[in-house]
């Protein structure tokens, strides 16, 4: 302290400080006025704008996915169910360090190599801002454990969702198909807004064909979220419309019987109720477990299925296109009658081979010695090739194709199983267009016995057989009978698509059916061994060539490896007078239709009509 300083000095100093303090006070007020101006700008002038931004921050519209419809078989058995499952999902767009996050998660929950590889696979085909599961089927304890640490994992959420399950597994795989996660390609095809929040879509079979009914419609809810996206409460919303349940014609009892009847063979069985067009059984063997695909199948398992020589993923019933062989003869016969080319009573002579006028090539009958003289009925019963060569030659390929087309050959039947193929009935036009070659008259003959370029699916054979059983009433086949809203008692029947197949005289159907009945009933019929006293069965055997026999060779079963053996075919319906089931069977590399495929059909018919079961096989027999 400068106690010696004068009072004037001290007063001057005090005055100086007072002035500076006053200036400071003014500056303080000016600075705070600036802040207040800024606050007025924010809180008064732009209040509306910031209120909207604040609301946008906290209120989010969330889609509420509908529950997928369930699927029941003809007896009300649940064959496609939803069961709740917790999965842990990472929304990759919200995560900064993906690898680090997964490693940190692995410290909280068990995450194995399989989980990681599935995650890698699925994230490559993910939809942006949709979670990709890193773990599936969390236990409740695991959910609780993650929840404790969830704050450490922004962008990682436990997702409770309903997972499709197929209780009967491989028994229904080919007919129902399965659902799987929506991929990028499917996302482009569907209405994205209706699928907001939906993770699964039908990938095949009934699941895909009836996707629109099963899926339902999305709902939404306005929710209040915090900065981490956690939902705090629901403000308002519109509930989703649940997908409709499907009630099928498919009878799991028959499906099981048909599967068992095929045994260990590769092949297919399609059974149709001719009165409704309802598919009672649709089997393709071998099959696979569709449940593996729902949440994404492991690469190893998928490759095992994909590259198996037995092709278990291949739906032979609707996608398998085989030469129908002699099973087509009743239909060719009918075409001949309808066109007036043949008369059922008029006979033709079979010397064991057929020669076109002016050609040296011999078209052989399966019986080298020939059948001698026979009319239509015996030609079908003994499956005489020469009779049908002549008939086809007289009909010409265009008329033949026309009749076969009306019976459903050469085009998709329109079944509600996704992925169906249409087979092929060749024609001049087709050959010129596709093969850029001229049509030879001999090819018409080959089509007449169901060989050559002629291809049909087991489903098409079953549909044609049902049309035959109906005496010309074609009904498009369908697996689903009706739909129902969950909880409703009332079911809505799905409409049938049907049309008549005209012939010149109504009796012509019965002329062919009588012949088909004799195939089973007659002592020289090719399917005589499946005869039963319980009811009359009308049928026709067939053999589809896998291996072409040279002009001067004979077919020697033992010399040919199993995979080169012919496919065995059989079509049938029963009872003849009041048909309730029409069946088509193919056993790949099974050999002769009468000995291998016909007993399968008989077991299916027995299972459906309640007949006494066929005894065990009595060894191979000849006849096509």
């Amino acid at each position: 302290m400068r106690l010696d300083s004068s009072i004037q000095d001290r007063e001057r100093e005090a005055h100086l400080v007072a002035v500076r303090a006053a200036i400071s006070g003014v500056l303080v007020l000016a600075a705070l006025a600036l802040v207040i101006v800024r606050l007025v700008h924010l809180q008064v002038d732009n209040h509306e704008h910031y209120s909207v931004l604040s609301k946008d921050n906290r209120v989010k519209v969330q889609p509420v996915p509908p529950t997928r419809g369930l699927i029941y078989d003809a007896r009300g058995l649940l064959i496609a169910d939803n069961h709740p499952s917790f999965s842990l999902e990472i929304t990759i767009e919200k995560v900064e360090d993906l690898a680090g996050t997964i490693d940190a998660l692995a410290a909280v929950l068990p995450i194995d190599e399989k989980d990681r590889s599935r995650f890698d696979r699925m994230q490559r085909q993910r939809v942006r801002f949709q979670g990709v599961p890193i773990r599936l089927n969390l236990t409740e304890e695991e959910v609780a454990r993650f929840s404790l640490d969830s704050y450490r994992f922004p962008g990682v959420d436990v997702n409770a969702e309903l997972i499709r399950t197929y209780p009967l597994g491989d028994l229904t795989a080919h007919v129902l198909g399965y659902v799987g996660r929506i991929n990028e390609e499917e996302m482009g095809r569907i209405d994205g807004s209706d699928y907001a929040g939906t993770h699964f879509i039908g990938k095949g079979g009934v699941e895909k064909a009836h996707e629109g009914l099963l899926h339902g419609h999305v709902g939404y809810q306005q929710v209040e979220v915090n900065a981490r996206g956690r939902v705090l409460r629901t403000l308002e919303g519109k509930p989703p419309v649940a997908g409709r349940d499907l009630l099928l014609y498919l009878d799991m009892g028959l499906q099981r019987a048909a599967t068992a009847a095929l045994g260990d063979n590769r092949g297919a069985v399609v059974a149709i109720d001719p009165r409704t067009g309802g598919v009672l059984a649709l089997v393709s063997k071998p099959s696979f477990d569709p449940n593996l695909f729902v949440q994404g199948i492991a690469q190893k398992d998928y490759h095992a299925l994909l590259y198996s020589p037995d092709k278990p993923l291949f739906n032979r019933a609707v996608r398998g296109q085989y030469p129908p062989g002699s099973t087509v003869k009743p239909f060719v016969g009918l075409a001949g009658l309808a066109a007036g080319v043949i008369d059922a009573r008029k006979v033709k002579f079979c010397p064991g081979a057929y020669r076109l006028p002016g050609q040296s090539h011999r078209y052989r009958c399966w019986r080298r010695g020939g059948h001698g003289t026979l009319a239509l009925e015996q030609a079908i019963v003994q499956s005489c090739d020469v009779y049908f060569y002549d008939l086809a030659h007289d009909l010409g390929i265009e008329r033949l194709k026309g009749y076969l087309g009306r019976l459903g050959f050469g085009d998709r039947t329109g079944i509600d199983v996704s992925g169906e193929l249409g087979g092929l009935v060749p024609s001049k036009e087709w050959k010129e267009k596709v093969r850029k070659q001229l049509w030879y008259p001999g090819e018409t003959l080959i089509v007449g016995i169901g060989q050559g370029a002629f291809l049909a699916t087991p489903l098409q054979l079953a549909v044609a057989t049902a049309t035959m059983a109906n005496r010309g009433h074609f009904i498009a086949p369908r697996v689903a009978r009706a739909t129902r809203l969950p909880g409703d008692k009332q079911a809505a029947e799905l409409p049938a698509v049907s049309r008549p197949v005209d012939v010149t005289a109504p009796g012509q159907w019965d002329q062919v059916i009588r012949a088909m009945t004799q195939v089973v009933e007659s002592p020289n019929g090719t399917a005589r061994r499946i005869r039963t006293s319980d009811y009359l069965i009308a049928g026709k055997t067939g053999t589809a060539q896998v291996f072409t026999v040279g002009q001067n060779e004979t077919y020697n079963v033992s010399r040919i490896t199993e995979r080169m053996r012919d496919h065995a075919l059989f079509i049938a319906f029963a009872p003849v007078d009041d048909p309730r089931i029409a069946v088509a069977v193919i056993v790949e590399n099974g050999g002769h239709g009468g000995s291998v495929a016909a007993p399968v059909a008989r077991r299916v018919i027995d299972a459906h009509l309640g007949g006494t079961q066929l005894m065990a096989d009595a060894g191979p027999e000849h006849g096509d």
């Binding site: 302290m1 100086l16 303090a21 705070l32 008064v44």
Partner: protein, 378 residues
């Protein structure tokens, strides 16, 4: 209210303040009332901003208790003694800053802490008091206004610790420490020519400062200039803070009803950005009440400065009052988007301990200057 005249301070020999109960406790009643109101307001806002966490309020209350304890203790120390101790305290503070840079603990990516066995201590906080004390000591030694040499000395005494603190790096505290020295110089009557000259030099040095800034500091400045350039990154604080304040309007959304804060869109809502919570929940009206309290406290501080008995007391009281103001202005400016984001808390409202102790200690010094009076030998 007018600033008290010089003569009135001279009249206060044997002032009643010396003889009243509060006077004997060395408490300035108006200042204490203002501070208590502000602390209470702060606790109420903190309760909401912390998500109604009573634990946080209790911890803040405990810190306030300690800080008020410091205030009370410092109010007992006579300014004469404080003046005598200014140089050693300053030297010790600067040495500790050097020690922090060499051996300090790293917290939040910056070296700020010195571990003294039982307590962790932030020397930079001490400098907030030591710098104005030291500058006031220097300038009060000769008649005011100071000559060029003293101004240069005061500038050096201010800049050395400010630069050391900026190197930690802690820009907010460095700014406050530098402000403290400058405020004392301003109160001491720094000539206007020098003020403008220094202002010009600082403006010219801006590019150099930019060059020496850390990346995150540069980012803050860039973000301040254009927050929308990175709305989810560094601009997020500013945008969300402005949304909170703007959506509050005049009336506010109501106490405990702020969606921006309660739903956690607003970062640092109970510490540096608590002002936005006030803006959202209590609106412009609540903010004006808060600013009114600050104005009252600053006014009272400046009044004490004017009324002080000697130059040291005047300079120190004026400087400390202005530092308090700078706290308020930097924080509210940053939260409203007027200034870049600098880590300065809203005084006596933001959650956090160290700065609160320093702040109330400075008010303890103000009270001491006001209440320790001696008879003047004329």
């Amino acid at each position: 209210m007018a600033i008290r005249s010089v003569s009135s301070s001279l009249d206060r020999v044997g002032d009643p303040a010396q003889t009243t109960f509060m006077g004997r406790l060395h408490i300035d009643l108006p200042l204490l009332a203002g501070l208590l109101l502000l602390s209470g307001f702060g606790l109420a806002v903190l309760y909401s901003a912390s998500g109604q966490d009573l634990g946080a309020v209790e911890r803040q209350l405990a810190r306030l208790g300690i800080a008020y304890g410091f205030m009370f203790a410092l109010a007992q120390v006579s300014p004469v003694r404080l003046q005598r101790w200014s140089p050693p305290i300053y030297v010790a503070g600067v040495l500790m800053l050097v020690a922090v840079l060499l051996i300090g603990d790293v917290g939040k990516g910056a070296q700020r802490w010195l571990d003294l066995g039982a307590v962790r201590f932030q020397p930079s906080e001490l400098l907030k008091l030591a710098v104005p004390m030291m500058v006031a000591w220097l300038l009060a030694a000769r008649p005011l206004p100071p000559g060029l040499g003293r101004v240069a000395g005061a500038a050096a005494l201010t800049l050395v610790p400010a630069i050391l603190i900026a190197k930690q790096p802690d820009l907010g505290t460095a700014v406050l420490v530098a402000t403290a020295g400058i405020a004392v110089l301003f109160i001491a009557g720094l000539s206007w020519r020098l003020i403008f000259l220094i202002g010009g030099v600082v403006a010219a040095l801006t590019p150099l400062v930019w060059y020496h800034m850390h990346d995150y500091q540069r980012q803050r400045v860039l973000t301040f200039l254009d927050p929308e350039s990175d709305p989810l990154g560094s601009g997020y604080h500013i945008i969300q803070s402005q949304i909170a304040i703007g959506s509050g309007g005049i009336q506010g959304k109501g106490w405990l009803n702020g969606t921006q804060s309660h739903l956690e869109f607003l970062p640092e809502r109970h510490t540096d950005f608590i002002f936005a919570v006030i803006g959202e929940e209590l609106g412009l009206s609540g903010i004006l009440i808060l600013l009114g309290l600050y104005v009252f406290i600053i006014y009272r501080g400046l009044a004490i400065a004017v009324g002080a008995q000697d130059s040291y007391g005047r300079l120190l009281a004026g400087g400390l009052s202005l530092v308090f103001f700078v706290y308020v202005f930097v924080n509210t400016g940053m939260v409203t988007g007027l200034l870049p984001v600098v880590g300065v808390p809203l005084p006596l409202v933001s959650f956090g301990g160290t700065s609160m102790v320093t702040l109330l200690a400075s008010f303890g010094i103000l009270m001491a200057i006001e209440t320790h009076r001696k008879s003047l030998r004329i």
